[in-house]
Symmetry: C2
Subunit: 568 residues, 2 copies
Amino acid sequence: MAETGQKLANGLTRIDFATDPSRYRHWKLSVDGKVATLVLDVDERGGLFEGYDLKLNSYDLGVDIELADAFERIRFEHPEVRVVQLRSGKPRVFCAGANIRMLAGASHTHKVNFCKFTNETRNAIEDASAASGLRTICVINGTAAGGGYELALATDHIILVDDGSSSVSLPEVPLLAVLPGTGGLTRITDKRKVRRDRADFFCTTEEGIKGRRAVEWRLVDEVTPNSQLEAVIAARSREFIDGASQPEDGSGPGAHGISLPPLERNISSDHREYDYVSVAFNRAARIATITLRGPDMPCPESAEEMVSQGASLWSLQIARELDDAILDIRLNELDVAVIVFKSEGDLRTVLDHDLVLARHGRHWLAREIRLKWKRVLKRIDLTSRSLVALVEPGSCFAGTLAEIVFAADRSYMLIGRHDGDNRPPAGIMLGDINLSGALAMGNGLDRLSTRFLGEPAVRDKARQAVGEVLDAKAAEALGLITFALDDIDWEDEIRLFLEERASFSPDSLTGLEASLRFGGPETMETKIFARLSAWQNWIFQRPNATGETGALSRYGSGRKPEFDTKRV
Amino acid sequence: MAETGQKLANGLTRIDFATDPSRYRHWKLSVDGKVATLVLDVDERGGLFEGYDLKLNSYDLGVDIELADAFERIRFEHPEVRVVQLRSGKPRVFCAGANIRMLAGASHTHKVNFCKFTNETRNAIEDASAASGLRTICVINGTAAGGGYELALATDHIILVDDGSSSVSLPEVPLLAVLPGTGGLTRITDKRKVRRDRADFFCTTEEGIKGRRAVEWRLVDEVTPNSQLEAVIAARSREFIDGASQPEDGSGPGAHGISLPPLERNISSDHREYDYVSVAFNRAARIATITLRGPDMPCPESAEEMVSQGASLWSLQIARELDDAILDIRLNELDVAVIVFKSEGDLRTVLDHDLVLARHGRHWLAREIRLKWKRVLKRIDLTSRSLVALVEPGSCFAGTLAEIVFAADRSYMLIGRHDGDNRPPAGIMLGDINLSGALAMGNGLDRLSTRFLGEPAVRDKARQAVGEVLDAKAAEALGLITFALDDIDWEDEIRLFLEERASFSPDSLTGLEASLRFGGPETMETKIFARLSAWQNWIFQRPNATGETGALSRYGSGRKPEFDTKRV
């Protein structure tokens, strides 16, 4: 499989993650009281790349970008919503899964990034249910195959129409010689808890399973004849709404969401400028430097003020900007070896903004902003680039922003000042947020707990330092940074590190970092990205799938694939 | 990388896992009271394959086969041993890790199988410590690099000589563009609990880390000058011996082990015949059928009789035979798509033999036999072939042997009789062993718990059926088998399943089965085989490692590797 990607269908050269409902081509979002409905009605000609049609509600990254956006908007713009119904706008098909011609034509890099993003989107759907009480119902009328069924698996309740033909299936192994779903298997075993031998049968049966058996095998939650479908959907929605505890988070009757306007971005060849985030590319050195700027606004004094600042509130705006910047690098800047994180601003002001969210912790908007940060930080954890944080005078790695230092593979902090710089020496400041679990990694532990798995006493010391300005020596003593360097060594050490990193094999770094970042327990979420994605990355590379005679390459050609029969 | 393997250096065409200390070429095993010493002194010219020398105590599969054998023998032949010291017989080097030329020349299949076996060996070392109280001390004088350090990581206590040059290192990323250790990273993060940024530095620093810093970073347990080395080793050994609880398991003073004689094997082109295990190959259909035979001997009446039967005791002998048969298929029969498990014998007699082990559960030999079974069953769980159990009249899947049915990806059981067969209908019989956790999978759960993750009530029902003969209908109702078929459907259904399985892409089946077999929790052990091995399989395939210009291919050529710089 060539690494050369296909051309984008929109004529541009960059994949853009910014969208809004007025621009959706594949999903229709409507809100009626406490119920939102997302209808999947894929525009066949609306593929992200040239060269394929999105038939039968099959999807590509562009479809998933809209889905991810829709869930973000429901959470921020419609806090009153309690139930989301996912439905198909096409007769006799719910979703045929990831588009096969797209997969066959995509570079290995794109395939892996596509799978990662779709899994992040599905995890966000589950997070919305678990953390925001946004229950999801999937209505399957017709075929839900492969990634289509995987989308259903991400919801809380799957209703399958019992019409003799509607079915769920994971036909990838028989049809395409790739692993089903890229996350689906973990949800089959760990979420739906399907018996493993039944799962084996299900995943090797092209036509899938329908009717009562789908319920008995725990693949769906209920079946219903078409005639009762609408009544059943309404009843389940009502049960979810009635079952929810009365919200005391400001999202009850009369609540108003905030609107998420497009991010202002200034994009030039080597720079991306947002309000609080800058990205500078040094393409020769294969480095992207992301600079995060602290708040330039006073903290909101009340919940009402927080809502009225809305998307322009620093905590939320910078999270959205950072998310966009990370996705841009992941998908569009494949040659970047290292992401360097810097920051500029005032430590205490950053912590003050954290404290506002804490003070209004029961308010829906404060909750959603922290959950957004949690997702953005997880996205960084899963970004397959070397991550380094540089803590220098003038930086503001405090509280939430300090998590970036702990998410980095390494961090360097300057002792004292740079020659000729009058600013006070660099500091790091911990907040309760770093130790509360509110920004936990996918493994369920906060980053400091993961960091100090073997030294819980060190974590306890860190707790005692909350709110203090920690200089390089103090931060090093507390184990919060990797290396403290003085001005004499700084430039050479950093340069050598960056050069060395860029000289290593990108693949071995991907495997190394994915392993070292996730010590300790595994959760369904980390299993999806570890066990599942790693296998999928491997299989995508194998000639049996993507070689000239492989199943993915030959799909639809009328020619049977030819396999190397050796088991590995 | 060509899939064609190198030629075996011994002139044979099959890798043989049978060995004993008199035939070791690389390890020297000596026992002195409660202390066993294993000295690694690799015979450079003793490589398993042609084409490389095992310099600097580097190893290949042949070296690891001896190590695995040595630990088996210590457990069975020297139950009085409490401490094993692992040392080098060469000056200034402990172990340089997996031989690079061997890796560069090996087929992808062999590399993956090599990594899997070495991890199983290291897990067995840890199991000996955790379950048998056999504490291990690793003495590093000189270099412990890559897999050499990984071997150290598998021990309980690592002593590093503080001589200014002895060091531990994982130089794979800088040198070879592959993942360190193939299991080492998980032990770094989850066993040694090294801080992740320090681990990042350590794993990207070719020369490794020595002296005090190795202790501070939790990479080793202590450093000692050469002058005090022997005293320190003796002191640690003494502490481990004194710290152990007094054994009440018959392994105290005056205990005698049993000897493990070579397995009698009759090997012909399409058959392997052991006393209690037969393997028949249908190469056209790519099937290996393993038939397990029940006991043909009375149960031992006492612990003394159990010891005097020793290696010829059915429970132990069949476990050793099955282990050998599985390894033979894994390494030598790469084209086998499906392993079919059958059995022949009497259900109650099998269960009686289980009960003997339970009755003498505190005796060291009964304990070791059950632990051996636990390891053999785990090896089956990790075997990347489709596994199916056929339960027919005359079979004896009871107790320990019933675990094979639960380890299979699918099982089929005959309802009633085959036409013209007078034997009683097939039965399955559960024993306490199936529900006690004694044969737990790598994920820490027994196979029935993993099977019924979503239906714990079904597992409780199974508990009530212990000791009953369960016919096909009963076994199906209890969820113990996948499908119950009558004689009319039997032959066609099985044939279709086997044909279909052989028609699928081997790679996608490997990923599918590895995912579906391990629902539920992850442990350090399952992380090693999932997260770690999957990444390693992937990286071994990448051109940056094994392509013509890759680092592994170019190592030692004087030419620098050339990398595709895209991050995936």
